[in-house]
């Protein structure tokens, strides 16, 4: 017995297979990444390291740079001491601790190419090491520049999805709606949205995971200026027509929203996704209007109302 009406057959385009989903294990995380654990990969992959450095938070990124700076300088400080601290002309430390820090600060001055010169390298091996370290400093700098620019120029999620979906009156029936907004000042053009639903259903006596598209009343706008409410009309053609929240919960429903747009400030196509589970759907509610004309006649958009909903009575 198929749980939902099968109006449009849909293949599993997300590549998750048809194994049924266990409670509270979403297919996609709310940030649109697949909810998958990965094993069996080499523990260090340069490319993945780069991707991680580019996508991590700014705080973490700066912490890692700071720690790397400390570690590299410590290694060089130890090396300069092993070669002989007497080769660092101007280093005045007499205890081991002071000699370590003399070498540490000399290293920092070398790798950052600041090179005050009150401590300077003497002797062949120390000079070679210092010459190598300053070259390394240049490369590290180049690396940092590349990483920073990589972080900047990456098309980050400029689009925010409402935390909840609502089921609100729509034409003669109701509609399943989510809202989205552009948090940046740049313009998004040729914005396209798709909505999909996945749930467990019994087909030929076997519980499996099915995927269906949810038709949108409008799936494309040419410019995202204010906000945009995506509406899936819950009419006879909808797979969730006349379904209750309890039924959706039982079937482990998850709804995907996929968005494509062109960012004309950076000439980049952006893709962004989110997913909603049954507990994210608010029934008999609608989104508060978040734009109005002010006294001067100018359109005002109040972002603080973005996630606000209000109850409605559905006929």
């Amino acid at each position: 017995m198929a749980f939902f009406k099968r109006k449009v057959q849909f293949n599993d385009d997300l590549g998750f297979g048809s194994a049924p989903v266990i409670k509270n294990q979403r297919v996609l995380n709310t940030d649109g990444t697949p909810n998958i654990e990965r094993t069996g990969l080499p523990w260090f992959k340069f490319d993945d390291t780069y991707t991680r450095l580019v996508t991590m938070s700014w705080t973490r990124f700066f912490m890692i740079i700071l720690i790397a700076y400390l570690i590299v300088n410590t290694i060089f400080a130890v090396a300069y001491n092993i070669i002989g601290i007497e080769n660092l002309d101007g280093a005045k430390g007499t205890t081991l601790r002071d000699q370590f820090f003399d070498a540490f600060f000399f290293s920092a001055q070398t790798i950052s190419t600041v090179g005050y010169g009150h401590i300077s390298p003497q002797g062949f091996i120390t000079s070679v090491l210092a010459a190598f370290e300053s070259m390394l400093g240049l490369l590290a700098f180049a690396l940092a520049t590349g990483l920073l620019y990589g972080r900047f120029s990456r098309p980050t999620s400029k689009v925010s999805f409402s935390k909840k979906m609502v089921v609100a009156p729509y034409q003669n029936h109701t509609g399943l709606m989510c809202r989205l907004v552009n948090l940046r000042k740049n313009s998004l053009i040729d914005v396209e949205a798709q909505m999909y639903m996945t749930f467990n259903e019994t087909v030929d006596g076997k519980l499996k995971r099915s995927f269906y598209p949810l038709q949108l009343e409008r799936s494309k706008i040419s410019m995202l200026s204010l906000n945009w409410t995506l509406v899936h009309p819950i009419n006879e053609d909808s797979p969730i027509f006349e379904k209750s929240l309890a039924e959706l919960t039982l079937a482990e429903v998850e709804i995907f929203v996929i968005l494509t747009a062109f960012d004309d400030t950076f000439a980049q196509t952006i893709h962004t996704r989110t997913s909603y589970q049954d507990e994210d759907i608010e029934w008999n509610a609608k989104f508060k209007i978040m734009h109005y004309h002010n006294e001067a006649g100018k359109m005002v958009m109040d972002y603080s109302l973005f996630d606000r909903t209000e109850k409605v009575v559905i006929g």
Copy 2:
């Protein structure tokens, strides 16, 4: 009563809703950005800050860098003085003012990694701070590089739209025309244009804002070499057929021109937009021809004639 003939129904693809527009409140600014005020957002957003730094004018950008440089050096100068100016070997200042500037210039030499060394850090805490500052200098440099490259590589508006639209004779009727030109030497290919009109009209007794496309005699050219005049033929199929300027003004008409092109110097797709209001339309005028063959037979394009129009008598 619908004000204009409804030949082609058009949905509000710009997401501005259907509230009527109040006098002189354009929907789009002439630079193509939406005329919207935004509230309710956090006052600082890193990503938006980046976008702003990349899109602001060069003068403002350099002023901000200069001011940031002064502020950061002031903060470090104060810090070096708090730790103790005696830790800056070579600093000769005896008054508080001179000591501040000694520390200030030492800070500048450190953060820029110039490090002359006539002032150099002594003692643990000062050395740590200087090592940290030089690392910060590297990162600030990397940041500046990223911002500068971001500014360069951004697909800026290479296309200029004429300040005015004209209504000139076209075939048996008239045409609503605007002209555009590529201000750069690079080539724009696969250039596509669209024209839309928005105005207030009374539908079912309610004043609302409507959007209509305006058909173009030609909407695509394969290469923008000289200039291009967009022509909307004002014939029976046009929503502004037999409308007067007064009627357009009353309906708060606004005309959008949207352009897409491929810039083959930088391999980027560029989008650019503008909008015209009723006061930007010049009736019974045409654009002056801005290209000619010189005596050697070579095509010459005179950009100073770009916005020039001349009166014509219409039938």
Copy 3:
């Protein structure tokens, strides 16, 4: 009387209008840029300056950087001397000439942030200027980085067109052919070509410039591995069917070849163009085959044969 058979009407998609062309004034240069002189523009435009710096030859680029370095250091050297050379501690010059060079080299050490420190700034104004100059050095460096990366990452013309077109036997008739080759090791995918012809013809008693597409036997290949010969079959459907070279010359014929491809090393779409005039067409010749299997069975591609043709007798 129309000069050529008008099988396919073609609009002037290159935006050059319909004025007839005077002898030896090509519409496109061989590098694909429009052959247009531009006047009436402001003499300095930042964006165009950037484009020029990114597209000029490497020799010229490095010369400009060297000259800018000399000029900036000269200006600062003069400024340091005006403030007072005694503020540069360590400068030993006694003659005006030596003092200028002391300041010049101090400036070079400051702007490049090398800062040896054997000459160091003293006094408030000199220190301020040196602090400002080192900041400028950082920015100049950032600028140079941006320009260099801009030069690298720009999708340069990786595709070379043969210098000549040939008219060679093709099926039962002849074909107008040009050859193209990828000079780089990267792969070009989804390669598409178009051929157009423009010439003067008399329409309704008036000499005008017409544009026609020339059908290609094949206009798309999925990968450009070796070389590709574009063939326009000169059959009954061709506008140059049974035309002689003299007739083409009289009509000021120019043939455009436009190529689009995707470069998968840099994930960029590239566009490239060239144009041929009547004197670039070699009749009764064909291109020498430039690839063969060597003794080990491996495919070898000999680029030195790229522009080589050999005479053929056309039936």
Copy 4:
């Protein structure tokens, strides 16, 4: 006699011509590059050098930078010695060897802009050379930054193809399958695959190379989350229906797999290809399933199973 059933004629879109292939000379290498030797090109091409520097391995890249650093410093060291080592104030070397290294380390300190200053330039010519070298240092740094960022931002092969193809049961017949997986954490969207086959066949008594597409059971998925098995059903419509491995080997079969996807972390379209020869096909085997739900219900993907196959008995 045509060797294979000619269900769909296919043109040679890869531009390799129709010469038959000699044993073990693949058309494409496994990394998707054409297996071609190139001669007749100028030995040095700047653009190709850049491409090579960006695409080579990290180890080789850093070795080249290190060697270039050594060579440049050696050249400058020789130059400083020719001008006269006495112009390097602070250089204490008395033997030729020591004087060379003094100049070498001074050069390293100048080009890296570390400039300690314990060795400093004196005299006009040495100062000019040092000023020039520090400018060169800045440019070299800029170059390194550009190269490093070029390496990072390049869309590298994130997709791995299985080493072997398998012929496994599929519906009522068998299927020719290969598997692919995304090795990175980023998401690949709008993933499209194509499969082609090339082999020697005798047409009109002449041995030539033919190209055929192999239809895929599914050629597009909207997101590559886990792994994806491409299946070419070997049914009546397949050119390899009822062919044995021996027949494929005789015909020098080579199978191409071409993949296109959009990487939404870097907003780039990526293309990747591979090729399989007859010895890469495993008959009567299938790929081991590499994902499962762990005890917490979470999807786990084990990459170590990626290339594992298991024997199956085909009906």
